[in-house]
Symmetry: C2
Subunit: 320 residues, 2 copies
């Protein structure tokens, strides 16, 4: 049985690093991006054009963007940058970005704390930003954050999530990404959300899901969403990034956990060596990038497959 191709969107350099306290040198970020391309990723979020003092870890955004866009100008890889507003978009354009991701939150409190605007104000701003980005011929992703729960408000109304998803779509966004910002999503909730969006007319190919593994549900959520037809998922190498609301908790869905999940759907007992037929990603190469990130960040990363793979190699080395 041929399975639907899964398109992974790698966020370790942006969502990952912005939640790590360590400052990663620009040259290291460039080298990691090059290795991500080599490992098979075709969509990589490389940085964020927020104000440098908000997220000092990503203050080198213009340089990272310029160097990587030059480097990969003629290669089949899309580099993405987060832009919070019109100023961010202009900075991203100046730095040569060809794809941008915008964001707002589905919950008022989270949106206010995150960007100091009401959701309504954010949406109006993004409509302008997305319009301008599309006029410039950019690829545009729009995140609806806290789509499965808010760390301040708890429950988030799925109707509000749907309303924002369609408004951003109408504004011109190519892909709508529902962000489970603090890992509150449950598979039953994910299934119902995906089904209702599709029922109301969102093309499933234009929907992406961004999970966090804070409460251990990321892989179950991804598997449930895939069964409902979703093929776009965000991941972060080895689970780089944490949760700002719970020190020590897991962060983004770990890329290797997702690759392992999707490369074994056909009844294989082990994921294949080299680039997998479903994701196009080489698990071992991602593992090596994860080890580099551990060295750079000075801490163990918590992705399950990552830890298994490291332990497996360690044991093989001992018994060899």
């Amino acid at each position: 049985m041929t399975q639907a191709r899964v398109r992974l969107f790698e966020v370790c350099l942006r969502d990952g690093l912005q939640n790590e306290s360590a400052m990663v040198p620009t040259d290291v970020k460039i080298a990691i991006a090059e290795r991500l391309v080599d490992a098979g990723f075709e969509d990589i979020e490389i940085t964020s054009f927020v104000r440098p003092r908000w997220i000092p870890q990503l203050a080198d955004a213009p340089e990272v963007a310029r160097r990587l866009n030059d480097r990969f100008r003629d290669e089949p890889v899309r580099l993405w940058a987060l832009v919070p507003n019109a100023i961010g978009l202009e900075r991203a354009l100046d730095a040569g970005m060809r794809n941008v991701a915008t964001f707002l939150s589905a919950s008022e409190t989270h949106n206010l704390k995150n960007v100091n605007r009401t959701v309504k104000e954010s949406l109006a701003g993004l409509e302008t930003v997305i319009g301008r980005a599309k006029a410039e011929g950019l690829g545009v992703r729009a995140y609806v954050s806290t789509a499965f729960g808010c760390p301040y408000e708890g429950w988030v109304d799925p109707k509000q999530v749907r309303r924002l998803a369609f408004a951003l779509r109408d504004a011109g966004a190519d892909v709508i990404t529902l962000g489970d910002t603090t890992g509150m999503g449950h598979p039953a909730q994910v299934q119902s959300m995906v089904e209702s969006l599709v029922e109301k007319g969102l093309p499933i190919d234009d929907l992406a899901l961004h999970f966090h593994d804070t409460r251990g549900t990321a892989v179950a959520n991804a598997w449930t969403a895939y069964q409902a037809g979703v093929t776009r998922f965000d991941g972060s190498v080895s689970g780089v990034g944490g949760c700002p609301y719970a020190p020590g908790a897991a962060g983004n869905a770990s890329t290797q956990d997702l690759v392992h999940l999707f490369e074994r759907m056909d009844g294989e007992q082990e994921p294949p060596e080299g680039k997998g037929p479903v994701t196009g990603i080489d698990l071992a190469k991602v593992g090596e990038i994860g080890r580099t990130l551990e060295d750079v960040l000075g801490r163990e990363l918590t992705g399950r497959y990552h830890q298994y793979w490291k332990g497996h190699l360690q044991r093989k080395a001992k018994t060899a």
Copy 2:
């Protein structure tokens, strides 16, 4: 919508501790068992009657068993001990056990390395052990280990798993537990296995699943199995226990990850306080037991919900 009740079987004191290098004092084990009962568990695997030199961590099996069976003689909790063979069963009976769990592996190599017998020899032995245990009026569980993959052989034939499950059932086992011994199970595989067992006549209420989170699939596997009708799952508090085949990798499915999953099926954004209506388990009390286990073992435990819950409390304490 009323959801099927989930029956969790707690293995931290047996499968958990046998994979930890620390020696836990008998009094601590007794105290943890008492707190598990207080947290709502009705089935607790307390120890193993294997040869003490095989698993020195559980060498106090007779004392643990005697004390706990005395302590809970009149309470609605079932205490279980693992017995590898007829000698183990006699020792368990001598120590007052009223429920025992037997085991064999579905893969020849794992069975040989684990108990130095062929699968056929093991099955013949277990038929005698189960017959004797049932004649004594004991409750009997039978594990089929490596049911979703073998660390030596890789793929395990589902037909062999089914054959062993029905043979153990015919021998008199009340519950058949499929063990994903080293966390190789994939949700597609779990679904197909459960469906085929039910189709061939195994009552779904008599099937339990024992997952490990080595590759991050434990929660996805449990959710998939629940959708297919399974209501019995093994868990280990905070994920106590590791994987002997990959140092540093995650061990048993974390009990809190399972409780969180099953207590949020009805669309709740947070699991309830106190004992949950689906599992009967009090998540906060389990979290406190996990913290005690971290102190006793001298290491951080890796259960996702456990780490989230600890970080959440830590942050609340800071901002209070």
